[in-house]
């Protein structure tokens, strides 16, 4: 009891001392040196005659060009009996050659010039990138679009990609962190949700060349593509080159499939997946929100204060800095197309697993009750996020790519300004309000990947524990 008394006394003392004067006044004085007038890089936005939208930014310092394409595709559009199709298509698009060229020829053409073209597919988009010297653009942009518009999907490369994907799935069982991040969406959204599905060896092995061709025909069209380009080019010239390189590529004719909306099913619980090791990986959370939610700005700030930054957040301070219980601890509040994931994640030694879970629960509860949220920490979060926006302007390519990404997800062109204004205007009352409304300390779904036999007893003190088998591939 005595120990508790001392601790709570200290806690009060510390929170009062929060505003004590720093002994390093230079930090404040040097922080307030004003910034002269600055302007965001001037991005030019164009639409080609085939409907392709292009974000361009000239930058002649180095003789390089970088490009990235967002294509309206993704694993969410893959039918239930074709799981894995998206990731296989994403890689074989590049490695399966084109109707005109074998893959060996493409590889040599690119690598002799030091250049690269890569393709891939994520949950909500297909991707393609090109990096080259500016002098090679006239040859490589046509190749880039040849790959995107008339791929060959050679059988041999499909088999290879499938074998490597199965191997990657098996290898994801080697690292507890990978297991936890892979399995948590399944726990929350359900195994069959398009936001959580994991392919199996069986589904991968059943994929055919025809499956890839069908998917490609349906989704890969110029009017479904947003391209970001930065580097050493002249705008007019490159636009002509893009027009020329895509003139035979037809526009889309079918509408996009409808993706069923998520239903929030609240089921709290503790789940344990056994994996031998000295450390547990744990995720504690529930549903996040949609990116269209008008409360998103307050939610972004709330999460920053909870676990968005290792050095200044409550979780970083409590779990890492004060107690040395984890190297990695953070929280994420997903604001996605549909309800995202909210979770805090940490890796800690086996025998402190329950302690870290309790600390996280406690902080989530505090926030829900409006505690631990101070004007000081809000001001800090705002300052950090707003000041960091400028960092996104370098390198230029990163900025253009971000503009293209925002456009892909349906944000208006002036969104970054809007974001800045909205975020600056958020009050502490608003943050407290969203913390209360969107955090559910009594509905937490907890996943622990770790040494089952040693953790189970301590976890049981927190509630009923359901054991989950480690999926095999």
């Amino acid at each position: 009891m005595k120990k508790f008394f001392i601790l709570s006394f200290l806690a009060i003392f510390i929170s009062k001392a929060e505003f004590a004067w720093s002994r390093a006044p230079q930090i404040d004085s040097l922080s307030s040196i004003p910034l002269g007038p600055v302007k965001a890089p001037a991005v030019s936005i164009q639409t080609l005659s085939n409907g392709m939208k292009v974000y361009l930014l000239e930058d002649h310092e180095l003789p390089l060009i970088q490009a990235f394409a967002y294509i309206r595709a993704g694993s969410i559009y893959v039918p239930a009996d074709k799981l894995g199709l998206a990731s296989i298509l994403g890689s074989v698009l590049r490695t399966g050659g084109t109707r005109q060229k074998k893959v060996r020829e493409i590889d040599r053409l690119l690598e002799n010039k030091g250049a690269s073209i890569e393709t891939g597919m994520e949950t909500e988009y297909g991707s393609a990138s090109l990096n080259c010297l500016s002098k090679d653009a006239s040859v490589l942009f046509p190749l880039f679009f040849e790959i995107l518009s008339s791929p060959n999907f050679s059988e041999d490369q499909i088999h290879q990609a499938v074998a490597r994907k199965i191997e990657a799935l098996k290898r994801s069982n080697d690292e507890p962190e990978k297991i936890a991040v892979r399995e948590y969406p399944q726990l929350l959204y359900g195994k069959n949700s398009v936001w959580a599905r994991i392919p199996s060896s069986k589904s991968l092995l059943s994929l055919t060349r025809e499956d890839l061709q069908t998917y490609h025909r349906r989704f890969y069209h110029p009017d479904r593509l947003i391209l970001a380009i930065a580097g050493d080019f002249q705008k007019e010239e490159i636009l002509k080159l893009l027009e020329r390189s895509t003139e035979h590529w037809t526009k889309s004719s079918e509408p996009l499939p409808v993706v069923l909306p998520l239903e929030k099913k609240w089921e709290k619980g503790i789940y344990l997946m056994n994996k031998t090791g000295e450390q547990s990986t744990l995720l504690v959370g529930h549903f996040g929100e949609k990116r269209t939610n008008p409360d998103k700005f307050a939610l972004i700030l709330m999460n920053y204060m909870l676990g968005g930054d290792i050095f200044s957040s409550r979780l970083g301070e409590e779990v890492r800095s004060n107690r040395g219980l984890a190297y990695s601890i953070f929280s994420k509040f997903g604001l996605d197309t549909d309800y995202g994931l909210f979770y805090a994640m940490a890796q800690t030694k086996t025998d402190s697993t329950a302690e870290v879970i309790e600390l996280i629960e406690k902080e989530i509860r505090y926030f829900h009750e409006g505690k631990g949220l101070t004007a000081h920490s809000l001001e800090f979060a705002k300052s950090a996020i707003l000041n960091q926006l400028m960092g996104d302007w370098d390198p230029h390519f990163g900025y253009v790519k971000e503009r293209a990404r925002l456009s892909y997800f349906g944000y208006p062109e002036d969104y970054l300004d809007f974001f800045q204004k909205k975020l600056s205007g958020i009050t502490l009352a608003q943050v407290k309000e969203v913390a209360h409304r969107y955090l559910f300390p009594d509905q937490l779904k907890i996943l622990v990947v770790g040494e089952g036999a040693q953790i189970e007893a301590s976890l049981k003190k927190l509630g009923e524990v359901k054991e989950l088998p480690l999926p095999q591939f």
């Binding site: 893959v103 290898r171 080697d174 930054d309 050095f311 990695s328 890796q347 950090a384 000041n387």
Partner: protein
């Protein structure tokens, strides 16, 4: 074959000078600025976003540690974020007294831990006392005031890293935070206070569990280096052995800090939208007052020549992988450049030999990778090959095929097309890295620290261009041989107590 010939003809060598007509060559843009105390800076003003990267390298890393003290350079990197005698404290004098008491207990505990008595009754009592004192000391701490000042002012990529060779601190900030960066960084370099040391030591133990104990690659890599090197400090892990970390004290850190954190042992870079004259004034004002100390001890080459093949096995519940290494000289030895090219020819891109043979044709590997300069470049190092097995295939099959490909390098000259492609790829990658402030700052400070001159970056492509097919074959014959090879294979333990394969 037609396309092959055609390409070979059309294949001009890229060069860093080929574009100097339009954009200024790198030589002209980099300003080398040395402070009176011996600290050097590389400054590159570039128009673009109103931001800059601040990068500091201290030429100290795992290679400078004494046996039994592994992990100290990395631990010091962690502590550099804990503040100074004015940053991060409410009452320096009161805190200092407590920290001294904490240290007394920490020293005794460390002594016990080194004697394997870290869990005896005395140790338990001391740990309880330590906890109480730590709670008292927390009262004087302004939590992470140092790190938070960077974050609050818009620091992105704010981090630090430690390798066998170097300790690096870096951040990108809006341009009007230049003085703030210089103030904070210079204070941490000249006046660090190791507050919350024993909590942070626990954080590092967690980091080790994550990066080594729970990670097949990390585990295998640690075993691999211990086997490949006999005496060189490159044999030990940068993060340190568990038992060494557990016994580190703040006093150990202080001694290490005094020896290596002297200005003549540090290189900085400021790259971005800066004004040269103004930046120099700021650097002089803040970093100029770091007191010069004696030169740190130099590393000596002590690794004996390897006489026969070395081999080790790591049993781990994970999919199998193989690591192979060959001893070779470090930079600026010409053969180091040759190995840059060998790395490209063997592993880089889909046309590379190992990718073609192991991944594409034989389909026995999921992935392969090479690295020239493992685990560092201040001492002679290794040419490293990594492969992960695919499906039912074994690391032994990978080994056989890699040996076959390496054997071809020894017996047959590489084609001109292959060599030129390797050169072009290397030069392109180097150029790409300069695209961001961070990438350029990283390259400049790396070569200034490790090679002693940032101009290595300019020399590098020129020397690469000279290297011939014969030199590749010669280096392969000299170094890529069994007697100079180390192999570490990671696989799942066999059942029925069956031992090594």
């Amino acid at each position: 074959m037609k396309s092959f010939k055609l390409l070979a003809i059309l294949l001009p060598l890229l060069s860093l000078t080929s574009f100097s007509a339009r954009s200024e060559p790198l030589e002209a843009k980099v300003d080398f600025f040395k402070l009176p105390n011996g600290m050097s800076f590389l400054l590159v003003p570039r128009k673009g976003a109103p931001v800059f990267t601040g990068y500091i390298r201290v030429k100290v890393g795992g290679a400078d540690e004494k046996p039994g003290m592994t992990g100290i350079a990395h631990m010091l990197e962690h502590m550099a974020f804990k503040g100074t005698s004015t940053i991060g404290t409410r009452n320096e004098r009161a805190e200092k007294k407590l920290l001294a008491e904490i240290e007394k207990i920490g020293m005794r505990l460390s002594e016990l831990t080194r004697k394997d008595q870290g869990e005896n009754d005395e140790a338990k009592k001391l740990k309880a006392q330590l906890k109480l004192l730590q709670q008292q000391a927390e009262v004087f701490v302004i939590k992470d005031e140092y790190s938070r000042a960077f974050t609050k002012n818009g620091g992105t990529d704010f981090n630090a890293s430690t390798s066998k060779d170097l300790t690096s601190y870096f951040v990108e900030l809006p341009i009007h935070k230049l003085s703030l960066w210089a103030y904070l960084s210079s204070e941490a370099l000249k006046d660090p206070v190791f507050r919350e040391f024993y909590q942070e030591r626990d954080v590092v133990m967690e980091e080790r569990r994550m990066r080594v104990e729970g990670d097949p690659f990390g585990k295998n890599y640690e075993e691999f280096l211990r086997t490949a090197f006999e005496k060189s400090p490159y044999k030990d892990p940068t993060i340190g052995y568990e038992k060494d970390i557990a016994a580190l004290t703040a006093t150990d850190l202080k001694n290490f800090y005094r020896r290596y954190y002297v200005p003549q042992n540090m290189v900085g870079a400021v790259v971005g939208d800066i004004d040269l004259a103004e930046t120099k004034k700021i650097l002089l004002k803040y970093f100029g007052s770091i007191p010069r100390g004696p030169d740190p001890p130099l590393l000596k080459e002590i690794e004996p020549e390897q006489k026969e093949e070395r081999r080790t096995f790591v049993y781990f519940t994970a999919r199998p992988q193989i690591m192979m290494g060959y001893h070779k000289p470090t930079l600026p030895h010409r053969e180091d450049f040759v190995f840059d090219l060998i790395g490209e020819i063997l592993c880089e891109g889909r046309t590379s030999r190992l990718y073609q043979s192991l991944v594409e044709n034989k389909k026995i590997a999921q992935n392969i990778a090479c690295d020239n300069g493992t685990p560092g470049a201040r001492l002679d190092n290794l040419f490293f090959i990594y492969g992960s097995a695919l499906g039912v295939h074994t690391p032994q099959e990978l080994e056989a095929e890699i040996e076959k490909q390496v054997g071809m390098l020894r017996s047959t000259l590489v084609s001109k097309e292959e060599l030129d492609r390797a050169k072009n790829q290397l030069i392109f990658d180097q150029l790409s890295k300069m695209n961001s402030n961070m990438g350029l700052a990283e390259s400049l400070t790396y070569f200034q620290s490790v090679a002693g001159d940032w101009k290595y970056l300019i020399q590098h492509p020129k020397i690469l261009e000279e290297i011939t097919r014969e030199e590749i074959r010669e280096a392969a014959r000299k170094y890529l041989v069994k007697s100079n090879q180390t192999i570490s294979i990671l696989s799942v333990p066999k059942k029925n107590g069956e031992s090594r394969p």
